[in-house]
Symmetry: C2
Subunit: 641 residues, 2 copies
């Protein structure tokens, strides 16, 4: 007999039969090992509970003169008398408050082994659109057996929880026989380990449905020739002058590790969109293509490809969604962070964005992208733990609030972190707190603790910074740094800097990690060539430039960028070519570049920016010329339509 | 001897010694089992490559008359003569192009067992700031031994790759003796399995550094009393009238599963911020608190808590970052999606946002949040695979472009997906493509294939939709639906709808999944009570209302919301209380709510919105009154400062 693997879905419910104290060891009608079902049932309960699926429990709920009792001429000792402790569910059973309880055999002259007998269980289940029942409890050979038989009779699909039932076994084989009887009636069997949570799709399925439906089409037509796709940004966000490349290493990691996992194949087979042959063809799928790209930390401009994928069409198609997803985000954040770096030369810049980033991955990559751009570090722990990005952070208002006294809070913190003492000043009154710090400093100094800094997080930061600086200096705390945070971006930072506000460092969170003024890039990953022939989309406002491209950059005598040329890869143009091979046959053709090297490249690139591009307002765009060969190619493709 | 665990970091390099054909079985100076090192070295190569660490390879590169050859009076047969195949690296070795090759013993009269002898290896390594070498290759008892000895002499820390070396063993114990000699000189040993990639931190460390530094402070002061934190939004994004609650189930999953993993403890021990006692205290950490919340799908307003955590202070503190991260995003997206739903009643609404969402998780949760709000489905595969959210998607421009003929592309697609035929019209010319569809339809119909719809993705969508509708109707294709996509949001959709544009459904991507007009919420998770005493932060513009709160909602006779009261939890107010217990002792106290139920609740809530809140422009805010008790409590806390 094949045990079919159940996969829980709406329409399923858990039905527990008579798990009551009187049926447990020590009870009035104890089932041997009856208590052994409790820990297993708790796992089923937890599982159904998490899936949001209904849970029901039947119970014997007898009057004291019930006909099944020996003293009334029945076969059993007195048991499960309503309102007695023997009728209660055992305390160790984690029955949720929301479980529905079905009391049965509640009349003196009526017995009921089945939970359906004399109850409204069936109509209850039907009203909740339950079609499949998972049944366990006590005892296999009486109430479980009869409940299962009725459930099958009423048309439910039934799984017996084989590891969560026990038998009375008046005759030693009663349990076994009951099990056989249920199996013969088409009851299925289930154990807790069969109920796996639905497997999370692997990275191969981090994509849009249409990538797979197109792949099915390519498969049916045997369209496996090499395709060239390029990723580029169509236009700069308003007010921006340049973009900074970031995220390439994550794209290469993704491509190197790309596999279609067994759970992906299983989902594809079940979902109804694809043919079996196509799904089977994906077994052992790997990315085997080439990647050319600009190095991370390179400044670039609209229409310049920063990444080119050359691979068999279906492979190059599948990866579109994730490549855009990875590159857009880090480019967007690095480009914004670079503006902040340019606005605050030499200042400590800390990324505080994790909480309002759009996910943990977004927060992590925001920390990476801003560090690449020149930030000093981040508050995001995983970015420190994974990549050794320097971590910053000391206290929030809650630390102060949880103490009855602000100075006491400062003091306690300083003793816990003698090397990392930065006090948050604005919980109650910023200047008042600064005076407290001045009073506290000598006490701490006696213990060898130096205050590193203070943080201002609300109000008129410029005004507070000046006042706090005066208070600290007057108290001999000239060395104590002032950090500011709270809704900052490059414009606010530039304003503070241009007024020479005494702020030594900035914590920049939400507006950096969401790129709040431009939370998306108008970017694309487009087919430029298939089977050796250039291709061109002509959609209004979104037309593409055909062919494999290279970007050539020119510089002035003093090493400032003067203009780029976008040309075909095979053209020989003047200037430094920016796009290089980074992956062949699905493997990196050079080691991953370290964050330190990328930071250095960025610093060099920002130095080479023409002066107007270094300011926050942008008037005239940087010149990017399109080669005549590309223009002619586009025209000739249009003519042949 | 303790084998110290290496953890790769900048300053490390891989140095392979003489893995050349002549030293492999079949070569002129074959080392027994010499080829066994290749697969292991390939794993080291892959590993160093991915970590971005330098790779170097030495090689014997002898002239034909080299002094080490027997015919020149030396001890060895002729081997590794420059430019011969015997001197080449084996083809099976995945040496990256970027590896640096060091040729040695290149002069007739000079031999070199060590890679440092007569080469610039040392200066090369120093210029790249290498301090630690991982050395393997052939043979243990000659060139590896001597290279290791020189490396130690020159001051490097050296790990011998014990599983990637083999010995010549002229005497049977030569290899063993060489190993002992290296160990005695303080060479360390390493096997491939010692080089584990750095473990990804678990969800417990998805947080800001300051949460952990504060926890260290609480630990030192033994501050474990119950704390009450509430999550709320401070103000509505511009132009918005209400918010929609979403993301609660993800918060509960996070809290139920929260564990501090061994890699987290290891990182905390190593990072230098924390005391050993504190880190040890986190072993077995669990969230054991209570959660009260508004159900998902509930409409809410500024200052109304949608989630309250009651837990020992350190626990409630640790979870701040992730709770904000989870709730902000889904609330933001669900609230925006609800506006789109209100703008296009009865239309098919598809989330197309994955590619430009700020990560896969963001795309996945955007699909969930928009489905909750009333969207019909999504293109995001994992949202379908994990939660059975209906999936939409057919073809992109690349499918058309990869074919030489547009009609052929349509035809091929239709045959591959006879039940899901939606054609993209704007690759070259939208109306032209519509005519092609009309011509194609009868041919497909003969094969039993019906065209379900067409999609417009660029240009003046309203204009194209009208023209295409006419063309289709004239061709008898009245049943074919028109879907539109491309930079849409609630305002564009409302405009199309108000002009009765013949569009049957909208694919909404970037502006939904990034909440482009408001990519962040001004929201907070704030301490309201500690150790039974209410707390109040007074920071300018960010002051809090103290105490555990409840929201009471009132309705008109026709079931429209008329106003809310924000009161203390223990106050008895008029209206429907919106906040309920959802978790006790760290476990859900009811099953997870299904997406279907949440969608139903949302639909009901949107129906109960007062009419002005259903429009996209907002003038007068919905009334939320703050109870006198809260106001008095805040005043009394301020007085006692």
């Amino acid at each position: 007999m094949t045990v079919s693997q159940p996969r829980l879905a709406p329409g399923d419910a858990l039905l527990m039969v008579d798990v009551q104290n009187d049926f447990l060891p020590g009870g009035h009608l104890a089932v041997s090992e009856g208590d052994a079902v409790i820990p297993i049932l708790n796992r089923y309960l937890d599982y159904f509970s998490r899936k949001g699926l209904p849970i029901l429990a039947t119970r014997d709920w007898h009057p004291a003169n019930h006909c099944s009792f020996k003293n009334q001429g029945g076969p059993w000792p007195e048991h499960c008398i309503a309102q007695t402790s023997g009728a209660e569910f055992p305390a160790a059973l984690n029955l949720p408050e929301s479980a529905q309880i079905i009391s049965k055999a509640t009349h003196p002259d009526q017995d009921a082994y089945s939970g359906f007998q004399g109850t409204d269980l069936d109509s209850l289940l039907k009203s909740r659109e339950i079609r499949q029942l998972f049944i366990g409890g006590l005892a296999t050979d009486y109430c479980v057996l009869n409940t299962v038989k009725d459930a099958l009779k009423f048309g439910y699909t039934v799984y017996l929880l084989q590891d969560a039932v026990r038998a009375v076994n008046l005759s030693p084989d009663d349990g076994k026989k009951a099990l056989q009887e249920m199996k013969d009636l088409d009851c299925r069997l289930c154990n807790i380990n069969d109920l796996q949570p639905r497997a999370t799709p692997s990275a191969a399925l981090y994509t849009d449905l249409y990538q797979l439906t197109m792949m099915q089409g390519y498969f049916d037509q045997n369209m496996n020739d090499p395709a060239v796709f390029e990723f580029y940004v169509r236009e700069l966000p308003p007010g921006r002058g340049f973009l900074l490349n970031a995220g390439l290493e994550q794209v290469l990691d993704y491509l190197e590790d790309l596999r279609v996992a067994s759970q992906d194949l299983e989902w594809m087979r079940d979902c109804g969109f694809f043919s079996k042959n196509f799904v089977d063809s994906l077994k052992g799928f790997r990315f085997t293509g080439e990647v050319h790209a600009m190095p991370e930390g390179t400044v670039f401009f609209p229409n310049e490809p920063i990444l080119r994928v050359t691979a068999p069409l279906p492979q190059a198609q599948l990866v579109e969604t994730r490549i855009i997803n990875l590159l857009q985000f880090q480019v967007m954040i690095a480009s914004k962070a670079a503006r902040i770096v340019l606005a605050a030369p030499g200042k400590t810049l800390m990324d505080f964005g994790l909480r309002r980033s759009h996910s943990i991955e977004a927060g992590l990559f925001a920390a990476r992208a801003s560090y690449i751009a020149g930030f000093t570090g981040t508050a995001t722990i995983p970015a420190g733990a994974l990549w050794d990005i320097p971590l910053f952070g000391t206290m929030a208002h809650s630390f102060i609030l949880a103490h009855d006294d602000e100075t006491q809070a400062f003091e306690n913190f300083a003793r816990s972190h003698p090397d990392n003492v930065v006090f948050l000043l604005d919980t109650y009154d910023t200047e008042n707190a600064a005076h407290k710090i001045v009073d506290l400093a000598p006490r701490l100094q006696k213990e060898g603790i130096n205050i590193r800094g203070v943080r201002l997080d609300s109000g008129d930061l410029q005004n507070h910074a000046r006042k706090v600086r005066k208070i600290l200096n007057a108290g001999g705390l000239d060395e104590v740094k002032i950090f500011a945070s709270g809704d900052l971006d490059e414009n606010k930072v530039r304003d503070f800097e241009s007024c020479k506000t005494p702020i030594d460092g900035y914590g920049i969170g939400t507006r950096l990690a969401t790129s709040a003024d431009a939370p998306m890039l108008n970017c694309a990953y487009k087919l430029q060539e298939y089977a050796g022939r250039p291709r061109r989309k002509r959609s209004e406002g979104k037309s593409t430039l055909p062919g494999c491209k290279q970007v050539y950059r020119n510089f002035s005598a003093d090493h400032k960028m003067t203009g780029d040329t976008l040309a075909l890869d095979k053209e020989d143009m003047v200037g430094e070519p920016l796009i290089e091979a980074v992956m062949r046959q699905g493997k990196r053709c050079r080691p991953a570049v370290s964050l330190g090297e990328i930071r250095e490249r960025t610093a060099q690139e920002l130095n080479r920016l023409p002066e107007p591009l270094r300011s926050l307002q942008q008037d005239s765009p940087y010149p990017v010329e399109i080669s005549n060969t590309i223009k002619k190619l586009a025209e000739s493709l249009d003519r042949n339509l």
